[in-house]
């Protein structure tokens, strides 16, 4: 199932223009010896134990596994939402374990784009305002923000729905707005937790096609946790997590 669980740092081959050829580029995510323990009451539960992971830049990865295997935990660690109990986490050349919460928040806003299973759009804001949210953390002017929002909405194909409220959109449309929000800051990595979990087959296909485009045309690294075999099919790399160990 998995094609590689470790990517060796072989020499980078370039094409004539000097761009790195995909498949042999550097790691954008490098986890070593990751351990994560949760406590139920006073009883410790070892969710991850001594896990290593290398994700090449520009990869489209799918992570599958039974429920309770620690997929979401791993996702959270990669995205800087949670800290491991042990091990090192280097994402986009940043050592996350050494960063404070405030630094992590700033780093997230610049580096990561989130796509959630339940879309998580803010109901009292329009689609455009939702997409604009991450830009409020930058120093862009209002007109600059508007331009970025328009671009993002165009990429996901929903320019005509900019001023609709989430309740006026279908599930698939909501998720595409969420994706627009995820890319509006031009992050390096898109982290998706069951992006097609709440969608019908057709909408799921549209969303996955969109994600493929983001990966191939905009060179975004995508790390996706999913149960959906069809979604996993679209990914370039498939991994399985079982009982805290990557296969």
């Amino acid at each position: 199932m998995s094609e590689t669980s470790q990517m060796s740092e072989t020499s980078t081959t370039s094409d004539k223009a000097g761009h790195p050829v995909r498949g042999q580029s550097r790691s954008i995510v490098k986890l070593s010896g990751i351990a994560k323990t949760f406590y139920r009451g006073s009883e410790p539960i070892q969710v991850l134990d001594g896990l290593d992971l290398d994700v090449p830049d520009g990869s489209f990865e799918a992570l599958m596994g039974p429920s309770g295997s620690g997929k979401s935990t791993l996702l959270n660690i990669i995205a800087g939402l949670d800290r491991p109990t042990g091990g090192t986490v280097i994402v986009a050349d940043a050592d996350l374990t050494r960063m404070s919460d405030g630094q992590l928040a700033k780093w997230r806003s610049q580096t990561i784009g989130f796509v959630f299973q339940s879309f998580n759009l803010i109901p009292v804001l329009t689609a455009a305002q939702n997409v604009e949210l991450p830009l409020l953390l930058t120093s862009l002017s209002r007109s600059q923000r508007a331009k970025h929002v328009a671009t993002a909405m165009r990429i996901v194909g929903l320019e005509d729905r900019m001023h609709h409220y989430p309740r006026q959109l279908s599930g698939g449309q909501e998720q595409r707005v969420a994706i627009a929000r995820a890319i509006v800051n031009d992050p390096k990595i898109i982290v998706a937790d069951e992006p097609t979990g709440d969608l019908d087959r057709k909408s799921a296909d549209d969303v996955l096609t969109l994600m493929e485009r983001l990966n191939k045309e905009m060179n975004k690294t995508i790390f996706m946790v999913t149960h959906d075999p069809a979604a996993a099919e679209r990914a370039g790399v498939r991994r399985k997590l079982d009982k805290g160990a990557l296969q």
Partner: protein
């Protein structure tokens, strides 16, 4: 894998909401009950002194001892009729207000001084000398009621003050009178006091003990129709009842007005909480309806929940207000413009009213949310 904190925090927030709402109601009940207790205190202070078998005689046309004047000679005539208890006695007293300087604060106020005959203290069995001793009849010795003792310069056991130039009075003791208004008075010898004030041979009022309370009508008839004088005869209890009305009404009126205004805010608070509960539990309610519970059952259940929450607040407020039981509250007696000291008085009626009031607040605040709850359709049970 979900951390325990999540559950704990949710519960905690729910408890906080209930506590905040009950707390608001508790505060309103506190004010409400305090106002009632004050009213009861005034009534108690001003009516305890009144007995059913005792009448008070004032000059006709006077409303209070302070403005009445009766010639000394008439006292013997009041003693005559058959209804009078010879053992119980007849006493004539002089009542004046004097200007006294406050102790520990600037300014002057009025203090009520009562000149009483030698059997005056015994006439009221509830009088207890709690410090020092009783004054010797015919001397310038006086005793001070516990309520005002120490509040005015020189008017405390061991002190002395001038009734008039070269007429000093010595305070030899302190007394209690079962919490009645007597405790806000200074008592001394009848002759010494009225002579000092140039009112020899005059008393303000005469109190007569009858054989039985039922003898009142006959006695009053005899005295009020006597052509030799113009007098007004009242039951002591009725006299004090009238005296207390102005002050008691004032205090109770203000207190209740405040409490009722407060209750408006508390009811809004209860409505907010219950509305939130309904919104939060929409799926729960839908399920109950799907299972077969009627709209009325839902309505009743939510109204009861609001009432129980409110009564819990009412109980807290009632317990808190008990702390006021020992607090003294000086006010101006509007009848005599002298200072009387009231004590907050808790009675079962106060608590009954308080709990009833809190239940009402719960009902009023929770009614509309409960109606909303009853309108939830069973379909809501299926919503994700």
């Amino acid at each position: 894998m979900v951390p325990i904190q999540y559950n704990a925090r949710s519960l905690l927030v729910r408890k906080v909401t209930s506590l905040a709402t009950a707390g608001g109601i508790a505060l309103v009940v506190f004010v409400f009950a305090a106002a009632l207790m004050l009213g009861e205190g005034v009534k108690h202070a001003l009516t305890t002194a009144g007995r059913a078998d005792t009448v008070i005689i004032l000059r006709k046309g006077s409303d209070a001892e302070l403005s009445s004047a009766i010639g000394n000679d008439y006292i013997g005539l009041f003693r005559g009729p058959a209804q009078v208890s010879q053992a119980g006695g007849v006493i004539g007293e002089i009542v004046v207000v004097i200007t006294a300087e406050r102790a520990g604060a600037t300014g002057v106020s009025n203090v009520l001084v009562r000149g009483t005959p030698p059997d005056g203290i015994a006439f009221r069995p509830e009088i207890k000398i709690t410090s020092g001793r009783a004054p010797r009849p015919g001397t310038s010795e006086v005793i001070v009621g516990k309520g005002i003792s120490g509040r005015f310069k020189g008017i405390a056991p061991g002190g002395s003050f001038e009734l008039r130039r070269n007429r000093p009075l010595q305070v030899v003791g302190e007394f209690t009178a079962d919490g009645s208004s007597y405790e806000s008075e200074v008592w001394g010898d009848l002759d010494v006091i009225r002579n000092a004030l140039g009112r020899e041979a005059v008393v303000s009022s005469v109190r007569v003990r009858l054989n039985r309370p039922a003898d009142f009508d006959a006695y009053r008839q005899t005295i009020e129709t006597d052509k030799r004088f113009s007098m007004k005869v009242m039951r002591e209890a009725d006299y004090y009842e009238k005296q207390s009305q102005a002050t008691s009404g004032f205090l109770k009126g203000i207190g209740l007005a405040v409490a009722i205004m407060f209750s408006l805010a508390a009811m809004i608070g209860a409505a907010i909480t219950m509305n939130g509960a309904v919104a939060h539990r929409t799926r729960e309610i839908g399920t109950l309806r799907a299972l077969g519970f009627s709209r009325r059952a839902i309505l009743t259940s939510f109204v009861l929940e609001a009432i129980v929450l409110a009564i819990a607040g009412g109980v807290i407020g009632s317990v808190l207000v008990l702390l006021l039981s020992s607090v003294s509250f000086p006010v101006l007696n509007f009848q005599t413009f002298s200072e009387i000291v009231i004590r907050f008085r808790a009675t079962p009626a106060v608590f009954a009213w308080s709990l009833g009031f809190s239940a009402f607040m719960g009902l009023a605040g929770g009614l509309f949310p409960a109606i909303r709850a009853s309108r939830v359709s069973p379909v809501e049970a299926m919503r994700g």
